[in-house]
């Protein structure tokens, strides 16, 4: 028995190691690359003890990239800022709109409720291009093209359904009696919603917010089509280091690393809610 146990633990360790290597090695490699010059990156075979440099990060952060064809101004930090702004605002708007709606779908059975819920969910599953193409025309007409407001609105396609879906499940699993109890105590509906329902659904809301932040952050095509250069997120910005005199691999790597950092920081901060919050709670007892 003990031997079987040892064997099992050993196998588990090997499996976990393989998993970690597969998923983290590319990240590790990119981090390493971000500290290398273009020449060391291009060495064949790859060297295991490269000369490390901070020049890629310096270039990105200072906004000046020296190449043989001259100094290229990089707007990467501005792209990063756009990503932060777009993702954060989109998630906030989605929370403000989505949490009450999720609550309504979870708590009340009302005429058309399920239809509205499904309609909202189905936005997540509509091919984005289908909406995007005609939208470019309308955006022009209503003056939303190339505005943060317009982009944040379109980002709701990504954030809102996800938040609705996860948070609704969370509300459904919490017994309504707790809110009822609070109301018969003499508190208004609004107070019961804010002081009881939302705090109790906190982990679910946090997890949903984090996931939709990640998906908003990772979006590529919405901003590309709808916004001018000064509103582009990092996903588009990272492409800019392909220059005529060669592809700046080191800088691309550094840009990738910088583009992952904010979401990673957020995930680390939110990790205690993440797993609990995603447990949609469909099964209880």
């Amino acid at each position: 028995m003990a031997q079987a146990d040892m064997l099992w633990r050993g196998l588990r360790g090997v499996a976990l190691t393989l998993v970690v290597v597969f998923f983290l090695f590319p990240i590790f490699w990119i981090v390493l690359m971000s500290f290398e010059t273009n020449e060391t990156v291009l060495q064949v075979p790859p060297t295991l003890t490269p000369h490390l440099t901070l020049q890629n990060y310096v270039a990105l952060l200072s906004g000046k990239l020296n190449t043989a064809t001259g100094i290229i101004n990089i707007t990467f930090l501005h792209n990063l800022w756009n990503s932060v702004l777009l993702s954060t605002c989109s998630v906030l708007v989605a929370l403000i709109l989505g949490v009450p709606a999720a609550y309504a779908f979870a708590r009340f059975r009302f005429r058309g409720g399920e239809d509205i819920a499904f309609t909202l969910l189905s936005f997540r599953f509509a091919p984005p291009l289908l909406v995007l193409l005609p939208l470019t025309l309308y955006f022009q007409d209503i003056g939303l093209s190339n505005t943060y407001v317009g982009l944040i609105w379109i980002y709701q396609l990504i954030c809102l359904p996800l938040i609705l879906w996860i948070v609704r499940g969370y509300f459904e699993d919490a017994s309504p009696d707790i809110e009822y109890a609070y109301r018969v105590d003499g508190h208004s509906w609004w107070k019961a919603f804010t002081k009881i329902a939302i705090p109790l659904a906190g982990p679910g809301i946090a997890a949903a917010a984090l996931l939709s932040f990640i998906f908003a952050w990772n979006n590529f095509v919405f901003a590309l089509v709808l916004a001018s250069a000064d509103k582009q997120p990092v996903t588009v910005g990272a492409l800019a280091f392909v220059t005529a005199s060669g592809i700046q691999y080191g800088i691309i790597a550094a840009a990738i690393v910088l583009s992952i950092l904010p979401t990673l920081a957020l995930a680390l901060y939110a990790q205690r809610w993440l797993v609990e919050g995603l447990s949609l709670g469909a099964v209880k007892g």
């Binding site: 017994s175 707790i178 009822y180 109301r183 018969v184 003499g186 508190h187 009881i196 109790l200």
Partner: protein
């Protein structure tokens, strides 16, 4: 109508609730006077909780009128009804301490901190939970949770107290304790109380009156003793009492000395009106009205003891006659062996007669009526 009820108590009129096409409550009305405890009794799914929620204003789909202490609160939300509710699952706020849980109704009224403190301490002391006030609900035992929930319902001295089977989720010992303690607390609260339960014993112990709710109808609203002695329908009879009432199919005939029924090969005379003569009926016999003899007796039927179950100091016997009919009897004292033969005789002075077609009580033995009166 009782003016005290109208003036100070709870008056619910024609409450109706439907979920989609199924109507759960059919225009149910009831009135409770201050200081009175009305027990809502019924099987699960009969609409008890739904009714309670309608009264509390928690069900926006309910229609009907609710008047509390003379004030029509039909259009008020739950927060505007000054009621206390004890939920079956306690419904404590998991992110607040027991003290804050109990203080919640007082905070809603924006009472001064000192007053809140005093009131919470007093009620906690009364319910013997003053030592756990600082803890969060998850750190409390089931009994403490239950008391916290009750304390919260009582602390604001509500005019109306609604209790949704509050003892359902606690163990037998606690349930017993609370059953002793609750009448005292309810008296002290002097509220019009509605108490929901599925347990007839609890209903008998706590109710000043009992309303039996089946399929969204109040089928009987009466004193506990009356409900026990004369369940208004077969359905009530089956629910009320443990062991339940024996219901024996029969076809009564009318003779000069009263109604005759023929059951277990016996011809019994019932001293009641003959409305059911010639129709399909059910003879209701309480298990404790079955006399049991160790030896053959006149008018007694021989039966084998098919099973024996002890119950609250009594034993319940399942008897099977040679014809294969079964009947439950209960008796105090030592039970005979399973498999042995005994003789039994139904006592007709508490017998009830139900119309098979409608299931309603059609007649009861006169003695029983007199006793109850």
């Amino acid at each position: 109508m009782n003016t005290a009820i109208t003036k100070n108590g709870l008056h619910a009129q024609a409450i109706r609730t439907a979920f989609g096409k199924t109507t759960v409550l059919h225009d149910v009305s009831l009135a409770v006077a201050p200081g009175e405890t009305l027990v809502l009794f019924g099987p699960s799914g009969s609409g008890k909780t739904v009714l309670l929620r309608a009264i509390a204003g928690l069900d926006p789909n309910a229609t009907g009128h609710v008047t509390i202490a003379g004030r029509d609160v039909t259009t008020a939300g739950p927060e505007g009804r000054s009621i206390g509710v004890a939920f079956q699952n306690f419904a404590l706020y998991p992110h607040m301490s027991a003290r804050e849980n109990i203080a919640s109704p007082l905070r809603a009224r924006k009472l001064p901190e000192r007053e809140i403190d005093e009131k919470v301490s007093a009620i906690a002391k009364l319910l013997k939970i003053d030592h756990v006030l600082a803890q969060q609900p998850r750190a409390l035992s089931n009994g403490q949770k239950q008391r916290t929930a009750l304390a919260r319902a009582l602390v604001g001295s509500p005019k109306i107290l609604l209790m949704d089977d509050p003892l359902r989720n606690v163990d037998a010992k606690l349930r017993y304790e609370m059953r002793m303690e609750l009448p005292r607390l309810l008296r002290r609260a002097n509220a019009a109380a509605v108490y929901v339960t599925q347990d007839y014993r609890e209903a008998m112990a706590l109710g000043d009156r009992i309303a039996v709710l089946i399929d969204g109808h109040i089928v009987q609203l009466d004193d506990p003793e009356r409900v026990y002695a004369a369940p208004a329908s077969v359905a009530v009879a089956r629910l009320f009492g443990d062991p339940p009432l024996n219901l024996v199919p029969c076809r009564p005939t009318l003779a000069n000395d009263g109604l005759h029924v023929s059951v277990f090969g016996l011809d019994l005379t019932l001293s009641m009106a003959g409305a059911l003569a010639g129709r399909e009926a059910m003879l209701g016999l309480r298990p404790d009205s079955i006399a049991i003899f160790a030896d053959p007796q006149p008018g007694a039927v021989a039966a084998t003891i098919a099973a024996v179950t002890p119950l609250h100091g009594k034993v319940v016997l399942l008897l099977r006659t040679q014809a294969g009919d079964e009947i439950l009897a209960s008796q105090v004292g030592r039970a005979p062996e399973t498999g042995s033969t005994i003789w039994f005789r139904p006592e007709t002075d508490t017998a009830l007669l139900y119309d098979t077609e409608t299931g309603l009580l059609a007649g009861e033995a006169r003695t029983a009526t007199e006793e109850a009166a």
